[in-house]
């Protein structure tokens, strides 16, 4: 429980930081499918439209995206950050984030208990909130595990979590996170953005969490 409180304490400054400085993070809320023919957005607190008929999306060849839905999204976090699938995300310590609480907004449906026979066709703005929450859970859990594991850390192992990382250490950490979340090497420009954070005087653990969160919630991790 102590770990959870510590993670929560971290969250606030990270949010402040993200909204202030991290406009490099790709924006994917709104989900206009890049062609300009935006998908009509449902009002933010409504259940997503459950219909896969019709012509949502771009008619322009090659601009359409596929939503990485709940199970694959979960797998990316669990496998990517080496977490325990059963426990990595429990809202209020009880209900599974993926299979219960956020299921609908992460693109699933529960026919038996909720009587929902269809999944949502497209993400809504609540999807973005759910993705943010789940990724933050996953990242802060891994951070706390690695803090305890110290030299046996699995993900956050390129710099001490209490200190000031060098820009080379940041690059190594970021590269590893790109591999874990996006299955590719980062581009030079992406590394530059991350390295520019090294001289902002941020604590190492906050930087680590922020990188993890930013890369994990990037559009590329959700819309394929």
């Amino acid at each position: 429980m102590k770990a959870r409180r510590r993670a929560l304490l971290l969250i606030l400054p990270v949010f402040a930081l993200l909204s202030a400085s991290c406009n490099q993070r790709p924006k994917w809320t709104g989900f206009g499918r890049s062609s300009g023919a935006a998908v009509p957005e449902t009002s933010s607190n409504s259940i997503p439209v459950a219909s896969e008929t019709g012509d949502v999306g771009s008619s322009e060849p090659g601009l359409d995206l596929v939503w990485k839905r709940y199970r694959a999204f979960e797998d990316g976090l669990v496998t990517g950050l080496a977490l325990n699938k059963a426990t990595f995300c429990q809202e209020l310590g009880k209900q599974s984030c993926i299979d219960k609480v956020h299921l609908t907004f992460l693109g699933g449906n529960d026919p038996f208990e909720a009587g929902l026979y269809e999944r949502a066709q497209t993400p809504t703005s609540i999807t973005a909130v759910a993705v943010d929450r789940v990724v933050l859970y996953a990242c802060s859990q891994r951070l706390e595990m690695d803090r305890v594991a110290a030299s046996a850390a699995v993900v956050f192992k390129y710099f001490p979590l209490s200190g000031t990382p060098t820009s080379d250490q940041l690059k190594l950490q970021a590269t590893d996170l790109y591999h874990r979340f996006l299955a590719r090497d980062p581009e030079a420009a992406e590394i530059t953005v991350i390295q520019s954070l090294s001289n902002k005087g941020l604590a190492a653990d906050k930087l680590a969490l922020m990188m993890c969160y930013s890369i994990g919630t990037s559009a590329e991790n959700i819309l394929l």
Partner: protein, 451 residues
């Protein structure tokens, strides 16, 4: 039914029955005049040229309505011609150009697309296929393997083969595809307070047929069932729970009591017959659900209307002869006759003890042999199912289901050719869903990217 009837009431109060009727006739005229236009590839689609969601008209449909000089079923061609030079949806392309060049005259988001040569991107395809068919995110290691291989397509297909054999695909993804077809309702299912049937049989049968290269036509043919261990079983299947007639919990039925020789796969399980037929003499809901889910035509939306002369005869005195009802019921009632010898929920004590819900009873009603499916006579439900599973709408519906499952949408005009190739290949592939999906991941719709 409740929802549908509500829907109907609202249709009717807007005078929409005429429009539904209009769609069928006008849609046929449109497709005769512009046979290569975007939505004329199949009966189900043809309404989309004029309707957003039937009966609501889109901008082009609205324009037709405004220019009609007479009844919709005879005057719509003239109206179409009169607005060929106009641009109903205001997207800068004339209606005629949209109709001739794979645009959509009533949808501004769909215009004839400049020919773009997409390149197939194996990395994109691999990310998508791992997510869709394995429920996994692509790992860096696998991405590296892909980058290193001389034959990326072979790697994609090997990965797909593994995914389609995975527990995720069989127990989860395929089950979610079945939800709309089965519509489980916990309150009256195997664990409910009133048990009318056990829909777990339905999920098992569906998953079994849709996996391991089995023949998808078994969805409308299987005379076997699948037990809890996943094994195919023959014959009638005993109920899992004893009947319970008194007390707070009532168990009416269970197992699979229908004799094998009267079975036709998913549409003759105890759940399907009980849940959709319930107590109706003429099982319209049952027929309509089978038509909607296995042939892709939703009569409630005015799709798949193929009226039979002198129908509906209103065999059960429900007042469906009135023109406002006959629009749909001249197709739906003949579609339902073949189901009328299969019982729904049977609640007499004797029937509960004998587990007679969802069984065959030749004397139940006299209309069995009077039915029609897609304008052809059918003498029994077995004939109905045989005709259905060998039809083009069946193949199109399966292909559409798998396409939607992957892309969360229908094929777009520029993807139509690839989509048609998919469903047309089903007989050669012995109706294997796995083979269909292997074809799907090879399409540019799935893995195409702009160069």
């Amino acid at each position: 039914m409740d929802v549908r009837l509500l829907l109907l009431v609202s249709f009717l109060s807007f005078g929409a029955a005429n429009e539904v009727f209009g769609s069928a006739a006008a849609g046929a005229q449109l497709c005769k005049k512009y046979p290569t236009s975007t939505y004329c590839d199949s009966e189900v689609n043809s309404c989309k040229t004029c309707h957003s969601t039937s009966p609501a008209l889109n901008l082009y449909g609205e324009d037709i309505r405004v220019h009609l000089g007479g009844p919709v079923d005879t005057a719509s061609e003239a109206a179409m011609v009169s607005i060929e030079a106009a641009d109903s949806d205001g997207d800068g392309v004339t209606n005629l150009d949209e109709l001739l060049k794979k645009g959509a005259p009533g949808n501004a988001a769909i215009k004839p697309s400049a020919a773009v040569d997409l390149v197939y991107d194996p990395f994109l395809a691999l990310k998508r296929l791992k997510a869709i068919y394995c429920g996994q995110s692509l790992t860096y290691d696998l991405a590296q393997k892909l980058a290193a291989t001389a034959d990326p397509k072979a790697l994609l297909h090997a990965e797909l083969t593994a995914c389609l054999a995975s527990a995720y695909w069989k127990d989860e993804a395929l089950a979610r595809l079945a939800d709309k077809k089965i519509q489980p309702l916990a309150a009256v299912g195997y664990n409910g307070n009133v048990v009318i049937a056990d829909f777990r049989w339905d999920y098992r049968l569906f998953t079994y047929i849709m996996s391991n290269d089995r023949d998808a036509r078994d969805l409308l043919a299987a005379q076997y069932h699948v037990d809890e261990s996943g094994k195919r079983v023959e014959g009638r299947q005993g109920r899992g729970q004893l009947p319970q007639i008194f007390g707070s919990r009532i168990v009416i039925a269970g197992g699979q009591p229908l004799v094998p020789e009267r079975r036709a796969g998913m549409i003759t399980t105890q759940w399907f017959l009980s849940f959709y037929t319930m107590f109706a003499p003429l099982p319209r809901n049952t027929a309509s659900q089978a038509y909607r889910e296995y042939l892709g035509m939703d009569i409630a939306k005015g799709e798949g209307l193929q009226p039979i002369p002198n129908e509906p005869r209103d065999v059960d005195a429900r007042n469906v002869k009135q023109p406002a009802c006959a629009v749909c019921h001249s197709t739906l009632d003949p579609l339902s006759y073949a189901f009328s010898t299969y019982s729904g929920i049977e609640t007499s004590v004797l029937n509960i003890l004998e587990n007679n819900s969802g069984t065959y009873n030749a004397g139940r009603e006299p209309w069995e042999a009077q039915g029609y499916l897609m304008s052809k006579p059918v003498k029994s439900l077995l004939e109905w199912a045989d005709q259905a599973r060998n039809s083009d709408p069946f193949k199109q519906n399966i292909a559409r289901m798998m396409f939607r499952q992957a892309m969360s949408r229908d094929a777009l005009p520029h993807e139509q050719e690839e989509f048609d190739a998919m469903w047309k290949s089903m007989p050669a592939d012995m109706y294997s869903i796995n083979k269909l999906v292997h074809r799907l991941i090879d399409t540019k719709a799935f893995g195409g990217r702009r160069p």
